[in-house]
């Protein structure tokens, strides 16, 4: 087939359509957040008529309209391409966005004017080819060309979606999706997109403090080391969900050395055991004929994996079997088989599945995804039953870890699940323990980026970097190691996280002789087989991709 894109008819059709698009367009490009990265601008520039004959009044709508906390809708700019409603309907399986009225009066609206609820709502901002849907978090922050962006990884959950982090004057101003077909296919969830303003919090901690008074790093780390040294099991270490592989490796060195015997609790994790054999890749879900989802509300646990499941079901005809006590959003597929189990009995239900009609004649790959039922399930048993089922019916499993780097921390051996009560000293790396600080704690050191009530009790408070400043890598739930690229500089007195750990090691008497992150990555790769990918970090500045392709003068 030959498609002629430059025939006079095609050229004129494009120009005509673009002229129509601009008949009622407000042309407020100078104050539009999309200006500069707007396909309507680009296409009009490239394909439109050079002069305008539109001099009548334009259609007006009340604007802008908040569609939700995070998204604003400008109906005058909307070109009614129906991408947003189609995305909602076909990809997200939500019915929240629709069209009102008809003809030229048509407008996009949320169902019954209620705020959008979906955790996938933010993608319509990226999808919208004009500035009709804009982020309220970023609104009027800057022109797109005033920012620089770096290709990084979302730090909010274990899916590891690829994102672009946009920086302007040392502030993180925007997070957008970056397509990686193996993982996210260009979608990110609202947590990843909008949950970043803490990075720019003016009250961010910048200097170390001892008992509330400013101190030097050397003094602070010396105090920490005296406070936690030789405490054995009386020392508790709280780790955050987004600890990097490099930090995890350094912690492992500390735990094998001076901090031997300390109790470690990693927060936000599922407590799923380490995978026994190779697990399923996210992209493998596309080919699955039957997908079994056990003890996980994927929409909140692993949002973008949830979209993959939906795609497999609606576009590729996969059948879904859900084992979960409550309703989940995958039930919107009328063919979903939902087995409502009593909490704690998921493993038993999984064992019953082995003789299920669908699994016996699946006609293709079978994927078995399991979560932890928010702690209600007996994890080892569930993991084993899923693995057994996979072996019995010839499928593969995917443990749905929740914490960003849970899988990496498990591989590094620091993903502890120890109770912290009864400890005397606490090293809180990241946000304070969710269960509160045990009353028995006599000495507390915290590494955190925000002042919080819990941190006021800390004897030593160390200023932390955020995901937008941190170097390092995450291992996502399927085991892929991906590298962070910080868009924001670490300005002294702030220190890189690995630097803090290296110096803490020195204060504790352990020589961690690293001058930079690459050396840590090389050592980690050699020490931990699952992190072998760390030996080849990508170049920090990827080559810019051309925006326009094709001849310069059509």
């Amino acid at each position: 087939m030959v498609v002629k894109t430059l025939s006079p008819m095609a050229v004129q059709a494009r120009a005509d359509i673009l002229e129509f698009e601009l008949v009622n367009h407000p042309l407020d490009c100078p104050v539009c957040d999309k200006g500069g990265e707007c396909p309507l601008q680009d296409f009009t520039f490239r394909h439109g008529y050079p002069t305008s004959r539109i001099d009548g009044p334009r259609l007006h709508f009340k604007k802008p309209i908040p569609l939700s906390e995070n998204i604003a809708l400008d109906r005058e700019r909307c070109v009614l391409c129906y991408r947003c409603t189609r995305y909602y309907d076909e990809v997200a399986w939500e019915q929240e966005l629709t069209v009102g009225q008809r003809g030229v009066q048509s407008f996009i609206t949320s169902q019954f004017d209620q705020p959008l609820q979906s955790i996938f709502s933010g993608n319509i901002i990226d999808l919208c080819p004009v500035g009709a849907l804009t982020s309220r978090v970023w609104r009027f922050e800057s022109r797109p060309w005033d920012m620089t962006h770096t290709e990084s990884i979302c730090s909010k959950c274990a899916v590891g979606c690829n994102v672009n982090l946009w920086q302007r004057r040392g502030q993180l101003v925007r997070v957008t999706s970056r397509e990686n077909d193996d993982i996210d296919e260009g979608w990110i969830c609202d947590r990843g997109r909008f949950d970043y303003t803490d990075v720019n919090d003016p009250s961010r901690l910048r200097t170390p403090r001892i008992n509330g008074a400013k101190a030097t790093w050397a003094d602070a780390l010396a105090t920490v080391s005296t406070g936690i040294k030789g405490k054995g099991a009386k020392l508790g270490i709280s780790l955050p969900k987004d600890i990097t592989n490099e930090e995890a490796f350094l912690f492992k060195r500390l735990l094998d050395g001076p901090l031997r015997g300390a109790r470690v609790k990693m927060h936000g994790r599922t407590a799923l055991p380490a995978p026994i054999a190779a697990t399923l890749r996210i992209k493998d879900l596309d080919a699955a004929r039957v997908i079994v989802i056990v003890a996980s509300d994927t929409e909140s646990d692993v949002p973008i994996v949830n979209l993959r499941i939906k795609k497999a079901a609606s576009k590729r005809g996969a059948r879904l079997i859900v084992i979960h006590p409550d309703g989940v959003d995958l039930d919107r597929d009328p063919n979903t088989i939902h087995i409502r189990n009593a909490p704690g009995s998921a493993a038993a239900e999984v064992r019953k599945l082995a003789s299920h009609r669908l699994l016996k004649s699946a006609g293709g790959p079978i994927a078995i995804l399991y979560g932890d039922g928010l702690g209600s399930e007996e994890m080892a048993d569930l993991a084993k039953s899923c693995r057994d089922l996979a072996d019995a019916v010839g499928g593969n499993v995917m443990p749905l870890y929740r914490a960003t780097n849970e899988r990496g921390a498990i591989e590094a051996g620091v993903a502890g699940w120890d109770p912290l009560d009864g400890i005397e000293a606490l090293l809180s790396w990241g946000p304070p323990p969710t269960a509160g600080i045990p009353t028995s704690v006599k000495f507390m050191a915290a590494w955190d980026h925000l002042p919080r009530p819990e941190n006021e009790k800390a004897d030593v408070l160390l200023p932390a970097t955020t995901f937008a400043q941190r170097q390092g890598s995450y291992t996502n739930l399927e085991g892929t190691v991906q590298f962070l690229r910080p868009p924001i500089e670490v300005v002294p007195p702030l220190k890189e996280s690995w630097e803090v750990l290296v110096e803490l090691g020195a204060a504790l008497g352990l020589t961690l002789d690293y001058a930079g992150i690459f050396a840590i990555q090389r050592d980690a790769a050699a020490a931990i087989p699952a992190l072998a990918a760390l030996a080849q970090p990508p170049s920090p500045e990827p080559a810019p991709e051309p925006v326009l392709i094709g001849p310069a003068h059509p």
Binding site: M9, D16, P64
Partner: protein, 487 residues
């Protein structure tokens, strides 16, 4: 029984309307005893195989009467009768085309003829369930169909074993919601499914994926009402009427400036002179015929000089028009073509579903341009805009025929009545400097004209806040709102 306006009684070309006018024809017993009703269904169910039915319709050369004129037998054969799962028949009784009332004529006079046709079609394509999507405003025809279906159910023609044959049949009625676009086949299916009536992109065609994703046969009321005659008399007998490529007869609803408006059954191939001047009596005394729409408002217009055009689809295509829905709209010389075109464009702009850019924006832009021309503010620029819009609406730039139709209105009136447009746009204009002065009465009246036109077409939601008063109110409201409220 209401007075019949149109064809009825015995005549060579009265295939459909032969028994119209018979007392109580809408009753099942009368339809059976006097009009020989349901013999075709009996023949189809008892003596013929589904494939034979399809072949008979193919032989007849019957073409769809809904608008596009697609060969009906071919459409039937697209449905794979042996595919597993349900299949449906959907009857397009939405008849919203301006100037068309032939389906109503059938449903009001002989509802059982339609039901019989539906049942035969359902049997032929392997469907057990049929829907009649009937225009919401058609109260009378709806009532008559309700009664007719009840009668057919009582008699057992609709039910588990019609005529004793083990082939369950049922017909349901579904009332439309008052939008022209609901007549477009895929929008109709969306509406039938309970969604917003917006056309789907094709392929897949309804014959493959129609109502609720199932294979669906979609036909017009008149098309299906012709089927019983074809089954009774054979496809070969049908071909004897009409022309070679457009066999048979069709109902033409003649309206406008004629002495005897009504629905006339016409053998295809007759001239429009016969239809308009003889059957409908021509324009009133002292008036000359000026222009007519040969196939509903969607068909490009023809001037009086082309009265001798034949009614078959090939002749109409050669005259750069089309047979469409068979609605003949006649205007005499008391009318202004530009105003008529403007009125029609307003209809299309109002009825556009809003899916495609050219139709959604272009039709509205044309309305505003017409408004300016009619307010004597036209110029060569306005004419150029109209031509560009007309061009932008046609040739597959839109998803459904509504956009094309809107383009054809401009295009065909331009083709035949360019003089009149130029009179309006170039010679009736006020001096440009006067009309363009910002606060002149002329420009104020222009914007208020726009306001009324758009409020008339859609009262509820958005407003053209282009008048100074609107704008002032808008500003005040914005000031009252604290900026914090939203941001």
């Amino acid at each position: 029984m209401a007075e019949l306006r149109g064809s009825f009684g015995e005549a060579r070309n009265h295939l459909l309307t032969r028994w119209f006018g018979t007392e109580d024809l809408h009753r099942l017993d009368v339809y059976e005893s006097k009009a020989g009703g349901y013999t075709a269904l009996r023949k189809a169910l008892l003596d013929m195989k589904p494939a034979e039915l399809v072949n008979e319709v193919k032989t007849s050369g019957l073409r769809g009467r809904g608008g596009a004129g697609f060969a009906t037998g071919v459409k039937w054969s697209f449905i794979n009768r042996d595919a597993p799962g349900p299949k449906y028949v959907v009857v397009n009784a939405d008849e919203s085309e301006p100037g068309t009332s032939k389906d109503r004529y059938i449903m009001e006079n002989s509802p059982h003829m339609l039901l019989e046709g539906i049942m035969i079609a359902a049997y032929a394509v392997g469907a057990n369930q049929a829907w009649v999507y009937i225009r919401g405003e058609y109260d009378g025809p709806h009532r008559m169909l309700v009664e007719a279906i009840a009668e057919a159910r009582a008699k057992g023609y609709l039910g588990p074993k019609p005529m004793g044959v083990n082939y369950p049949l049922d017909i349901q009625l579904y009332r439309g919601h008052g939008a022209y676009i609901c007549g477009e086949e895929t929008a109709l299916l969306e509406s039938l499914e309970g969604k917003r009536a917006q056309p789907r992109s094709r392929p897949p065609f309804p014959a493959v994926k129609g109502a609720w994703g199932r294979p669906t046969l979609l036909n017009n009321v008149e098309t299906l009402s012709t089927v019983p005659w074809i089954i009774n008399n054979g496809g070969a007998a049908y071909v004897k009427f009409g022309t070679e490529k457009s066999p048979g007869t069709r109902l033409m609803s003649v309206s406008g400036n004629v002495r005897k408006p009504g629905v006339y059954e016409v053998e295809l191939g007759q001239t429009f002179r016969h239809v308009i001047m003889e059957l409908a009596g021509g324009p009133p005394d002292g008036r000359e015929l000026k222009v007519f729409w040969p196939g509903g408002s969607s068909a490009p217009v023809l001037p009086a000089s082309m009265l001798d055009t034949h009614t078959d689809m090939e002749a109409l295509a050669a005259a750069r028009s089309m047979g469409g829905s068979g609605g003949v709209i006649v205007m005499d010389d008391s009318h202004c073509v530009v105003k008529a075109a403007a009125r029609l464009l307003r209809f299309y702009a109002h009825e556009s579903c809003g899916k495609c850019t050219p139709c959604r924006v272009g039709s509205d832009w044309a309305v505003r341009t017409f408004d300016r021309i009619l307010a004597n503010e036209g110029s060569q620029v306005e004419l150029g805009i109209l031509e560009r819009v007309a061009d932008g609406l046609q040739n597959g730039r839109c998803l459904c025929g509504l956009g094309d139709s809107a383009g054809w209105v401009i295009d065909s009136t331009f083709r035949h009545f360019r003089e009149e447009y130029e009179d309006h746009a170039l010679r009736h204009t006020r001096a440009r400097w006067w009309s363009r002065r910002p606060s002149s009465s002329a420009s104020r009246s222009r914007s208020s004209a726009t306001t009324t036109s758009s409020t008339r077409s859609a009262p509820a939601v958005s407003a053209w806040s282009s008048s100074p008063r609107d704008r002032r109110a808008h500003r005040q409201a914005a000031r009252r709102r604290s900026p914090k409220e939203w941001w």
